[in-house]
Symmetry: D2
Subunit: 356 residues, 4 copies
């Protein structure tokens, strides 16, 4: 297929969602093409002829079933019939069946060893972030989280320490060796954040900020992509596709809870996302039990459950002194709770042939 | 407090949801009562005077904070101030802090050993249910499920084998020793089903069928109460309260997934319900990963995750031949898958100090 | 088709949801039947042969497209191909294209004149219900609502005045001529409630209480069926089908709001349900803006909007003194507000060629 | 209050959500301040002392009730107690009780006359957009919509004609006089889009793209802010606050449907948002029945219902030839349907004292 054909099919794929490509032989006659179109229509599908520089392909749009593939393959002048199953291609298991392991400094996510990202919601001071890093390191965590640019519901809320916060994160890495995971909010900040961070986090609110996805796709930093609070799985994987499509293969998918009618938790954490994503994509899956529940007392159980469900990593909020946290204190573990949670996770990981 | 006072408070509790009871001393003067009312109002609360045969109590309706309690307790003529925290009382941890272990024949749920209920969605034939029971028994399950009365979305669907199905379940118990768990749909059927079953299941659609709740509350059978697909936790616990209030203490709560915008799963399974319920009630919690996901391939991971999260039991659909199941075949495990799933659960249970 | 064939198809329809019936000619040969099966499979559909006393029919299960119908109709031995579109049959516009007008005493719903049901959540006293009835009558309402049997989330809440309440409703009808709409909670109460009421209301919690649906389907009373808070439209229409299937054609569908993540309203009221239902069923559609919003101040706007959207009726909570209501006072209109709301509805109804 | 105090209160407001400000008299003694703190705590609230250049204020964080205000105002050294009710301030009715009328070229939204924005999802060609503009104009619409920069779920979809599209929109305005409403996706494009458009649309996916909100807040263009598919009302109003806070007062709020479990509509359209927003903010409210339902056949009813509910404007997708639309064809009206819909809206608007 030539480029124009490929582009046309991409568009069809997205709009129609279910496409089979009938590749005609080089030199197929107009009659053979017409016959192929007829057969496609007889199957209840729409046919879209795409002429190319070398050969013609016909897109069959609608359902895709094995019987249909066979029925079309038997036609004269047909070389091959290719069902294209997922609208996301680069992220798809069809394209790359083996799991992707994303590595960024001390953090590795996707292999036997789980990646554990811990730290406060926001970087608040040198003392706070240094203490946090030491706790994470001592407990067996493999990366440090902390927000320097904070997306806040209100324009009047604390918006983060910005570059000063990034410098403190880098200093914490210098001391502890922990990789730094921090959110980037805007295309203008991508270079700055990438200067300091090992992993660029895309927050749930920005999951469909496509320019930002493209921008982080053009860096050489790993990306932690959080699921939007009401994003479907297709939307989530297509957001990842925006990043992958720019040439950055190091994407981790993070389930952090969805918005439902439930009010006893901040969001509803669907751990089945781990299983679903492992069936659809080679990208590793990280669970955020802190945002996923919104209550510190629920975090340990959900962290352990995520490990048992097969998650590749965890991102957990921990603060040296949660009641004084400038944001999200109610869902932050204390250092002691963080330590105990990781110990529990380690036990379960060991039981299922993984490690922390 | 006398009965009439108690009834009044019950009503207030439900309507106002947050109530403190100021118990006046026997013989408190009208002036002291008036002063108490004044203090309550000064705290921003509503006051409701309930005179009794022996003494007067004043309900303070609104928020409940420790400071308020103290402020009120210092009043003249006040004997005691009791915050009543939960609208469900008998189910509440405040009333009974130690976990309840529900036992019904071979099934025990709420202790160190998990209760594992397996079997087909519907009883379809003697061969099918006998085979199912043998598989459950061999895999280490502790009870057999199987629907004889089926609640079906359509009036034209298979409605179950009814009493014939119950007899087959009892025969399977005779052979394997497994306790029988089966759904009861209507008050008229309660006695019949209770004749054969060890555990009466209340389905999600009937979670707020209050007459049915009362009816099973008046039997001596254990009850497995499924959460409604859009029930809040308060609604769920109050449904349990209907059963407990009739004098039947053997209630198991079953989380089976909620209705959300997600469509890649049949329902969304919130495992945080385990943690939440363990913080609120002494009743044991059973997880249904079959309805909770709607896809057989997701069931094993979610079963294991539920164990890790601290669930007291599992109810899993298994069918000797899922593609031929008359209902819910797509979410039923094969015997082999069931066996493997229980093996995985056993490993994780062992790691966290429990057993299967 | 004979009865057994019809039953088989009903089951397929529900399970497979999309079915075309290929009716073979009387005396079609085994070869012709085999050929039909082959053609069905070539279209990517499953084939299910159902032999009958007179002739064979083959169910084609899967998608239904016009092209497929044509492709199958051209086969030898085929008499007719019938797509069966909806899983609910009696409720379907395919079966009865003209709108159903439900009449019960003074209430008529489904014609040019809107049916307006007003009154308190619960019957509380003779004075309260009599006053309510007079207000409803004076404002132009056509039926009186009032709960005598109340489904309550908590076992400790006021459960209604029961038969005494029914008698008061009947007395209010005697004085004002207004038809009485009241909820029935349990099969055991159906006869009693039907003795007093013109319309039996099935509440949202009982929408899938199938025995109750069957029981009201066996009375000669009209039924107001409320949508469950998380029921899909198919589930809603199939619940109606349970009633219709027992021989009671007088069913009104009532949209009363669904459970979503929104918390500024009690439920989310999707007025598009009016349009959807009018495209799918001949049954009339009533909107409940009181439960649909949960706030009295929102009720008038939503009542008027429902009229504009084409609703056939409204059911509105009104209480002589809302702050003293024993249930749902916050969403009840005062008599003045009720009167003004109906005046606004009348104006809009007039503008779109309807009347109040 | 000085600036630092104001900032501190802003932060508290957001984090604590419910704040009363006790303004101490100039020169209040430390003892008076301590006494005020004590009184606040006795009410069950948290106290936060904020010293300033001129006077001290004490924030009382928690519930806000009239009785509490009175209790605090009686204290020595207290000048004033100000409850701050809404976390969004500039958008709040408390700050500006009279409705805001937003005017941008031919479009005026917020007064007696409704603003009607019509046009295709995407600008596709000169002919298409010119035809669209003529249809909108002839039908009585007051502004033209059309996407030049398209946010697409997939990176492989048509992303819009970009600047060429903007030029075509401007040409359509030149011919018809209709104001141009078009989406801006990224901060980098704001100046470019503002060069051509009268109204900058912020799409649902970008409702919490705070940098973009700030960027459009710094233009002199009116802004149409769409509600995110799972945004709460507070989040929606705070997103508006980001724009207002930059000095741009011309913000229209657009309800376009929320994500729920319903699948017979693309989104669920909660028309109660109109009533709610009119009770909370002076900003005008526009309804989008096209995205709100996702089906052309539902759009007319929902448009009329929105008018009846009191919406200030409508934004409706119309395409000269919906089946050929490059995006969203299934929810686009034909020119005839658009014309008829506006005629129906006009009738209802007239009946309620408004005009089209």
């Amino acid at each position: 297929m030539d480029l124009k054909q490929s582009e046309t099919i991409k568009n069809l794929l997205i709009q129609g969602n279910k496409v089979m490509i009938v590749v005609m032989k080089n030199g197929a006659s107009p009659g053979e093409i017409a016959e192929t179109v007829k057969r496609i229509k007889a199957l209840g599908l729409k046919a879209h002829v795409i002429e190319g520089t070398e050969r013609t392909v016909v897109a069959a749009i609608g359902e895709k079933r094995e019987e249909m593939k066979e029925a079309l393959e038997s036609g004269d002048g047909v070389e091959e019939v290719m069902p294209i199953l997922a609208p996301y291609k680069v992220a798809s298991l069809e394209v790359k069946p083996e799991p992707t392991v994303v590595t960024a400094g001390s953090l590795s996510v996707g292999g036997k060893a789980l990646g554990i990202i811990g730290g406060p919601c926001s970087v608040e001071s040198e003392e706070q972030i240094m203490n946090s890093a030491r706790v994470v390191k001592a407990a067996g965590g493999t990366a440090l989280r902390g927000g320097a640019f904070k997306p806040r519901t209100s324009p009047y809320s604390f918006q983060g320490m910005k570059e000063e916060g990034l410098k403190l994160l880098a200093a914490a890495r210098d001391e502890t060796g922990l990789a730094v995971v921090t959110e980037v909010l805007a295309t203008d900040d991508v270079d700055l954040v990438a200067n300091y961070a090992d992993v660029l986090q895309i927050g749930a609110r920005n999951m469909q900020n496509y320019r930002l996805l493209e921008a982080v796709g053009n860096t050489d930093r790993a990306v932690l992509l959080k699921r939007g609070a009401s994003a479907t799985m297709d939307e989530f994987l297509l957001a990842a596709e925006y990043i992958l499509n720019e040439g950055n293969p190091n994407v981790m998918l993070c389930e952090r809870g969805i918005r439902t009618f439930e009010s006893h938790t901040r969001f509803t954490l669907p751990l089945a996302s781990v299983t679903y994503l492992h069936h659809k994509t080679h990208l590793p899956v990280v669970i955020d039990p802190s945002h996923g529940t919104g209550h510190a007392y629920m975090v340990p159980d959900m962290a352990v459950a995520a490990v048992a469900a097969g998650a590749d990593g965890l991102i957990i909020e921990m603060h040296p002194n949660p009641p004084e946290a400038m944001s999200d204190g109610y869902q932050s573990l204390t250092p002691e709770q963080f330590d105990q949670t990781l110990a529990r996770c380690k036990t379960v990981a060991g039981a299922i042939g993984k490690s922390l």
